[in-house]
């Protein structure tokens, strides 16, 4: 008889990673509302696919679903996005230079200091493939291998994206200090 109280329920396996899912959705999407749409859609997909989930890394699995959902949503809304989805590697400089002022972000209040808000803007201004790699590494603390799995990207590409993301971030910070 299946144990109805076993720990392999959707609630026990997937729901603990709701924050991780939201974090990624929020960093991928431009505003809180579309992030929540993506989160909800992704959780529903996860619920649907859960019976076939046999893996050992539910967080990576869920993040993959979140990412797919977010990308699908951005494709649907192409043209509305402020930041272009690009595979080009050297777009970051331009994007950093066009940093939004950020006063219309409803989550600004969460970040107490201006510096932190500034860092948030810098990360938000990164091209999406650099941004997601940086967020998965620095905030989710995923391994290179896990990031490669979530983003369907070779590890070598993960490493170079991470490098570019960090370098752009460091450069933007230096520019800030100089200004």
């Amino acid at each position: 008889m299946p144990d109805p109280l076993s720990s392999d329920t959707f609630e026990a396996v997937v729901l603990p990673h709701l924050d991780a899912a939201h974090n990624l959705a929020r960093w991928l999407m431009r505003d809180a509302a579309s992030a929540e749409d993506v989160l909800q859609e992704a959780m529903l997909r996860a619920l649907t696919y859960f019976p076939s989930f046999k893996g050992v890394n539910p967080r990576g699995w869920l993040l993959q679903i979140v990412r797919n959902t977010a990308y699908a949503s951005m494709n649907l809304n192409r043209g509305v996005e402020l930041v272009p989805m690009t595979n080009g590697s050297d777009e970051g400089d331009d994007v950093i230079a066009r940093l939004p002022s950020g006063e219309d972000d409803p989550e600004t209040t969460l970040i107490k200091t201006r510096e932190r808000e500034r860092v948030r803007q810098m990360i938000a201004a990164l091209p999406i493939e650099l941004r997601e790699t940086l967020v998965l590494r620095e905030l989710e603390e995923l391994s290179y291998k896990e990031i490669a799995d979530v983003t369907h990207t070779p590890i070598g590409t993960v490493m170079s994206r991470l490098w570019r993301a960090r370098r752009l971030l460091a450069q933007a910070a230096r520019r800030d200090e100089a200004a």
Binding site: P4, E11, P16, E36, E138
Partner: protein, 265 residues
């Protein structure tokens, strides 16, 4: 700017910083790095970038969004598998407990799941433990252990924690200070169990968190124990309150905690 590093070892410098290199690789990299100004500059830049990142940047789920997601998940579940109380509950998480999850994925197994639940209820949780509540309590505890969810009011002072609940609940939860018994109070939060708001008091034993859920109930009942998913539970009723303690501390310690709590005026 060139996006790619000028020394082909720069990505290894980064990998080392990220803890992705084995000891042997790290050692051979160290000797290269000592002589490579490009790698030294890269390391400095990476450190600089990393120093900008702080935990505050983590975008946790806002409470309202969480509730809406939970409601959507609940609604997505086949109707016949919903618990009857689900409709009445403001927060849907309460219906995420127990047995349905083993049955929902396959309509045919629903009956079996229900039968199992009935059997379990009969053998394990009769008489005082309502089926599902134990699971719900553990789930509530596990949810609370996620970063940022443990407490809405953080204080070791019961005179701060107790008034915090004023106006948030239709009862005044007893808040006791057990610091002398090595179970210091660290705070409290609102939680939702069995379709009603409850007080959750957070205590600590060494590095373990003990959640104490409190809500009104008639009568008194002696302590009973349970164990689910590696978490220990002691619950009882006293002074018109249902009280459930859940933690990953050993059962003996949790019983000790319960006894101290019961005996503290």
């Amino acid at each position: 700017m060139t996006a790619m590093p000028d020394c082909n070892k720069v990505l290894l410098v980064q990998a080392e910083l990220d803890g992705e290199l084995g000891a042997a690789e790290a050692a051979s990299l160290a000797s290269h790095r000592a002589e490579c100004p490009i790698c030294q500059a890269a390391a400095a830049e990476l450190m600089q970038a990393r120093a900008l990142i702080c935990d505050d940047l983590y975008q946790r789920t806002p409470d309202e969004a969480r509730q809406r997601v939970m409601a959507a998940l609940d609604a997505a579940r086949p109707v016949q598998q919903r618990r009857p109380v689900a409709a009445a509950a403001p927060r849907s998480s309460q219906s995420w407990r127990g047995w349905w999850a083993s049955g929902w994925s396959n309509g045919a197994s629903f009956g079996l799941g229900a039968a199992c639940a009935a059997l379990l209820a009969f053998f394990l949780i009769v008489p005082a433990m309502p089926p599902g509540l134990t699971e719900e309590i553990v789930a509530g505890h596990v949810r609370a252990l996620q970063p940022g969810h443990l407490q809405d009011v953080a204080s070791e002072d019961r005179h701060t924690v107790k008034p915090w609940f004023d106006g948030k609940l239709d009862f005044a939860p007893p808040v006791k200070d057990l610091a002398a018994a090595r179970f210091p109070l660290t705070g409290g939060r609102l939680d939702y169990l069995g379709g009603r708001p409850v007080a959750a008091l957070v205590y600590q034993r060494d590095k373990h968190v003990i959640d104490l859920f409190v809500w009104p109930a008639a009568g008194a009942a002696p302590p009973q124990t349970a164990e689910r998913q590696g978490y220990n539970i002691v619950h009882w009723s006293q002074d018109g309150m249902n009280i459930w303690a859940v933690s990953d501390v050993e059962m003996a310690q949790l019983k000790e905690f319960a006894a101290d709590w019961r005996n503290t005026p």
